[in-house]
Subunit: 198 residues, 2 copies
């Protein structure tokens, strides 16, 4: 059976990644959207195993020691990580895996899984990103300017990604993501069983 592939999708805050990924998951079957583990407390409405795998700190630390994360990081006092277990389960079931992680995490995953495919989602322009962050209405002007600066810093590493998708329209970004996922399964190394098996 065809194995799944792992796709890392990164992009700055406000680029519209969640909207694009929601639309992609509606269009494309056989995809597992990775659920992170975290030591932070569940917020109202958050379900264990759906929004996060909620772990206590000792369990999280033990998982680090046992090399059970593809990547992990600490952020304002809490740990966040991508458990290998569910990713590998999905891949072995033939499902593609999407990891919605940032550049530091992408580097960690790539060192453990060099065959991972990395996709960077970029805004059509900085002014458009600023417009989207402002329209979202969740951040102060000061915070928006900090997010923009951070986006510009992240953007300096975008050329290290395998693919670069511009979210000008959701339809176009989803079309390109779909094409990338399909094309990656056409690489000869993905089809060696067929190539060798005849």
């Amino acid at each position: 059976m065809r194995k799944g592939k792992t796709f890392i999708i990164s992009g700055p805050s406000g680029v519209g990644k969640s909207t694009v990924l929601d639309a992609l998951l509606r269009q494309r079957g056989n995809v597992y959207f990775s659920v992170s583990a975290t030591t932070r407390d569940p917020r109202p409405g958050e379900e264990d195993g759906v929004h996060y795998h909620f772990l206590d700190v000792d369990t999280f630390r033990a998982h680090i020691v046992d090399d059970e994360f593809l990547e992990y990081a600490e952020y304002v006092g809490n740990f966040y990580g991508t458990p290998k277990k569910y990713v590998d389960l999905a891949i072995n079931q033939g499902k593609d895996v999407i990891l919605d992680i940032e550049i530091q995490g992408a580097i960690q995953v790539t060192s453990k899984r060099p065959d991972v495919v990395r996709i960077f989602i970029a805004p059509p322009s900085w002014s458009e990103l600023e417009r989207r962050l402002t329209e979202r209405g969740t951040d102060s002007q000061d915070k928006i300017q900090k997010r923009l600066l951070r986006a510009k810093v992240e953007f300096q590493t975008a050329h290290t990604y395998d693919y670069f998708v511009i979210n000008d329209t959701v339809d176009n970004a989803v079309m390109e993501l779909n094409a990338i996922m399909t094309a990656e399964h056409c690489k000869p190394k993905e089809r060696m069983e067929i190539i060798n098996g005849r």
Copy 2:
């Protein structure tokens, strides 16, 4: 403006490449299907510049000397080649170029243009290829066996291609080719102008 990319499409005789490429060209705009130059005489109904660019031997030789071919070969006493001129014109107009050439030609083109994308179209199985060659009704059983043997030899080099498309159904093969062409335009090196230009 976005420049076009060059895609080499190879595959054994009988795999259904023409059918797949016809369907692809109907679906996908902005594509130039490269017309070869040849020194052989036109057959009834063949138009210069449409089916081939018909050249006399001296002109063809001069083009070789002037490095005007991406690849060329001699086949049963006639020369065949891919003129650079029309390929470059199309690329500069933003059109993707499809070269329907064999493995020897693919190697020549790749040495001149390392950024070319090579796609191998394979039959779902050898028995299916034999069935298609038989159904076509144009070859003797002896010729079919020779074509099959040649296909198996070519197939040994298929892993050197960038992509490997299995023509199980025309729809699926076209979908995969379309995805590959779209995905290749999402590579960071294709979008450096955007990456650097903001």
